[in-house]
Every structure is written in structure tokens, then in C-alpha cells.
Symmetry: C2
Subunit: 192 residues, 2 copies
């Protein structure tokens, strides 16, 4: 039973994991909790794929890297130059060799899919932290197009990946990343 | 000090509020907590506008309703027919006469603004529930275009509203809305 104030401070982006698998029932409990996330009109559009297999995770990393680099070369997207270097490195796994990867996906026809998926991601990150697990949203890992790989993931044709989340037991808890004060543009009070 | 498991069950979408203002320092504490939300590359793009004034909230509701109806009439968007009826009703306030409204906004040039804003919204909803307050994300209230109103809110020209959140002391806590089981498309385990 974790205090929320403690959980707020405990959740970090984690990219370095112990070589230790996550029991399937722990992931299921986390996804069960994620169903409590709000969604537009309570539409609950999120669908999940869970990958416990490092070989598959590596193949997904390679696929996403290749697609990002080709989109960048064709000027469809503009990558940070630092990222181009990482992506060109064959040994760089965008999923940081995590033992588990969760894709949050949903029908591309749902207008609110990005925000619904992000809300569910927030719940998964808290649910994981409450269980001693670390997570990181790896946006670079969302570019999966190969029909065979999509088929292996059980992703229907019209399904879009919103959030790839890596999951594992943290090797260490890094210092909190810095935050600036809330950027409040204006506070409007009742006219006296 | 609230237990996270309790908070998960306590957070609801609330649309019926006591006629009781929210102290400014409570809203500030909530926004302070929202800064702990993750964002892409820790970019922290969210900016906030806080409106404690019912007259302004009513004007914002009227503005958003008028823009939605005109977009619908011009076939730029397709509204649910039920919503059209609500929006045409002069007495319907999209913000449910809440005593407080928070806009989460940010520069339209930030690609990840929707997901960064949704993650911050999740933190605000939990922060509010932990303090006995109710919230609801009112997507129908985001369509603010009038330059004078935008000026009053302190919103720069390039700033886009991601999430309007209403905030107040709940008159009652409704029953939880139903959730289906997590929609898990596939679980891929390590090949033996």
C-alpha cells in the first residue's frame, strides 16, 4: 500500500534494468489498473500489447529505428541530430534492453486516441512504480509498420501505437530530473 | 496523506459542484504537483491559466459553444447530434457552473503537446482528488479563438489549449463509471 505523495516522488523515467523478468500476473495487474484511467466520453479506446521476449523487443527496436531513419532521409520528419547518431548505431536498442515492453495502441479513427493513450500511460507508470518497477515512454519505438511484425503483435491494420512503455526492475533510482515552477500565464479572480 | 489505491478509486469525473470557491493556494499546490508529470525529453511545455471567476467561465463557455456550432455548420467538424442540442441551449454551460477552470495550454509548435498536456492533466486530476476536489476534462470547452478573450487569459497567439479542466468541491461522489477488462491484443513470451 503506497502513499500517493511518496509515489509522486518515486516515479522516474528508468532506462537501466535488472536482468530479471517481470511476472506476467504483475503486468496484468498493472493493465487492470490502467483501465481506471479516464477517457473521452468513457470510450476506453486503449488496447495493449505486452512483449516479454527480448528477441521480439530487439526486432521492434530495429524496425522502428529503420523507419525513423528512412523518414528522416526522405524529410518526412526532422530528427534531433543527436538522435540520428543513436539510431545509426546498430548496438543501440531504443528499448534499452528492457525485459518487458507494453504498447498502448488503439483505432486510428478515434480522434482522442493520443490523449486517451497518454492518460492510460500515466496510470501504467504509477501502477508500475507502486510495485517497485520502473518505466519509460520511448516515443522513438512507436514506428512499427512491417505487416509481419504488426501481425505478430496482434495489431489490426487500422491500429496505431500511441505509447511504447518499457518496464523492468530498476538497477538504480536516478536523481529526479529538474522541473521548473508551474508556468502560470494568468490567474483570473472574481471581480470584486 | 492519501493511499494511492484509495486515490485510484476516489477519482471520478465530477460535474456537480458545491457553491464554494477553491482557495488560490490549493490550486497553486495542485499545479506545483503537476510539474512532476513526465513530458517528452523533459521539455515541460505545459502552461496554465486559472480562472476563478464565474463570469469569465461563462463567457468562455459561450465562446467555445459558438465556435463548435459554427464549425459544425460549416462541416469542419462533426458533432454528436446530442451535443448539438446541448450546445444550442443558451442555459447550458459546458463548464457545468464550476467555481474554477484550469486550462492546460502550450506552444502549438510542440509536437508532443497533446500527450504532454494529457499527462499533466492526469496529475492534476489526482492532485485534486487527493485534496477532496473533483475535476472533469471538458473537451467541448477548448475552442477559444476570440482575440480579446485569449488576451484576457494571457494566452499568446501561438498557444493552443489542450485540456480544459473544471475543478470544485463535489456535491456528491457518483458511482464509478463502468470499465471493461483491459483489451490485451497479445502477450508475447520468451521463446522457450
Amino acid at each position: 500500500m503506497m502513499n500517493y505523495a511518496d509515489l509522486l516522488l518515486k516515479r522516474r523515467a528508468i532506462r537501466d534494468f535488472e536482468d530479471r523478468p517481470i511476472p506476467e500476473n504483475v503486468v496484468e495487474a498493472i493493465l487492470q489498473e490502467a483501465t481506471l484511467a479516464p477517457s473521452a466520453s468513457n470510450n476506453q479506446p486503449c488496447r495493449f500489447v505486452v512483449v516479454h521476449c527480448r528477441k521480439t523487443i530487439k526486432a521492434l527496436s530495429d524496425e522502428s529505428k529503420a523507419n525513423l531513419l528512412s523518414d528522416h532521409a526522405e524529410k518526412k520528419i526532422k530528427l534531433n541530430p543527436d538522435y540520428v547518431g543513436f539510431l545509426q548505431n546498430e548496438n543501440f536498442n531504443v528499448f534499452y534492453n528492457a525485459p518487458c515492453l507494453i504498447f498502448i495502441a488503439g483505432s486510428a479513427s478515434v480522434n482522442t486516441l493520443d490523449v486517451d493513450g497518454a492518460l492510460a500511460a500515466g496510470y501504467i507508470m504509477f501502477a508500475a512504480a507502486a510495485r517497485g518497477l520502473g518505466t519509460c515512454w520511448v516515443a522513438l519505438g512507436a514506428n512499427i509498420r512491417d505487416p509481419q511484425l504488426k501481425g505478430e503483435l496482434g495489431l489490426p491494420e487500422n491500429c496505431r501505437i500511441v505509447a511504447p512503455l518499457i518496464l523492468g526492475y530498476p538497477k538504480a533510482i536516478p536523481a529526479p530530473s529538474e522541473r521548473h515552477a508551474p508556468d502560470i500565464l494568468r490567474i483570473i479572480v472574481e471581480a470584486g
